[in-house]
Symmetry: C2
Subunit: 177 residues, 2 copies
């Protein structure tokens, strides 16, 4: 759980980072910025800020904003409604993000995950203008660099409520302002 104050602070932070990279949002969108602490009450360590532009039954687009060193915990997107589940492309807009996916563990990875259940260690580094596509059902987690990060996510239809987290303490707690 996060407090009302934490929510408002995180929304302010997110709006400021988006403005910094030249992304214009409406007043309604600003108020609809989602702040997820994944039920761990350690937002700055494990959390994510999101602005959903559109989410139809066919495609979705969002901005993901991460605080410095903030981690989105390990999860995967399962099949639903006869689809293979969410396929997603992360495109880094600013800052640096390290993405970890299934595959050969990277020796000396750039990030340590926070305490919790993390099992995949194949590292992909994304700087501004770089992107990577994650197939449905693939375990992944990511962590921002020391300046935080803004990442655009293009994907098939998004059903955050179905996400499967490796750490059973984690819940997709989303607080909307």
């Amino acid at each position: 759980m996060i407090t009302r104050h934490e929510l408002q602070e995180a929304q302010r932070y997110t709006a400021a980072r988006l403005a910094e990279v030249g992304i214009v949002v409406t007043a309604d969108e600003r108020d609809a910025i989602e702040v997820a602490d994944f039920g761990l009450s350690r937002l700055e360590e494990t959390g994510l800020q999101l602005l959903v532009y559109v989410n139809t039954d066919r495609y979705c687009a969002k901005e993901l904003v991460l605080m410095p060193g903030q981690t989105c915990p390990e999860h995967r997107h399962p099949p639903f409604d006869g689809t293979p589940g969410k396929e997603e492309t992360f495109r880094c807009r600013s800052g640096l993000v390290h993405l970890y996916v299934e595959g050969e563990p990277t020796p000396a990875p750039a990030c340590e995950p926070p305490p919790g259940a993390y099992t995949v260690r194949h590292e992909i580094e994304l700087g501004p203008g770089e992107q990577h596509t994650i197939p449905p059902g693939t375990l992944h987690w990511f962590q921002a660099g020391s300046e935080g990060a803004v990442v655009t996510e293009f994907s098939s239809a998004s059903r955050d409520d179905l996400d499967e987290f490796t750490d059973e303490r984690v819940a997709r707690e989303t607080v909307v302002g």
Copy 2:
């Protein structure tokens, strides 16, 4: 047809407009900017510049860059491969774009289309941070304001080669650098 010189100029223009709004692109992406004159050889009047970020068999994301007053001619996206056809969301990043779709004609619309076959006149004005979603199969065209426009397009899978244009002279001529 456009000349090699026109292509390079249009790519330069597009890269500059993207940079202006803070969008970072890789060198490979810059070289892959598409310039479409729709076979009319009047690029500044009827044309479109595109950067495709990703186009899987489920979703697609592109930046569309328009020169001042430039028009993307009237077309629709037909069904294919058992899908209803492309559904798309236009989100204006900078400048102004007027979108025309099926529906009640707008009295005193902001734009005149260039010479050619244009049949829909229901106007939607999109400034920075505003967006609109077009269902599959809907006729539409759009024109940039006097400063040009940068528009992000989120959509289901894109098959430009299947687009159906109202003007039979129009072909989806895409020139890649």
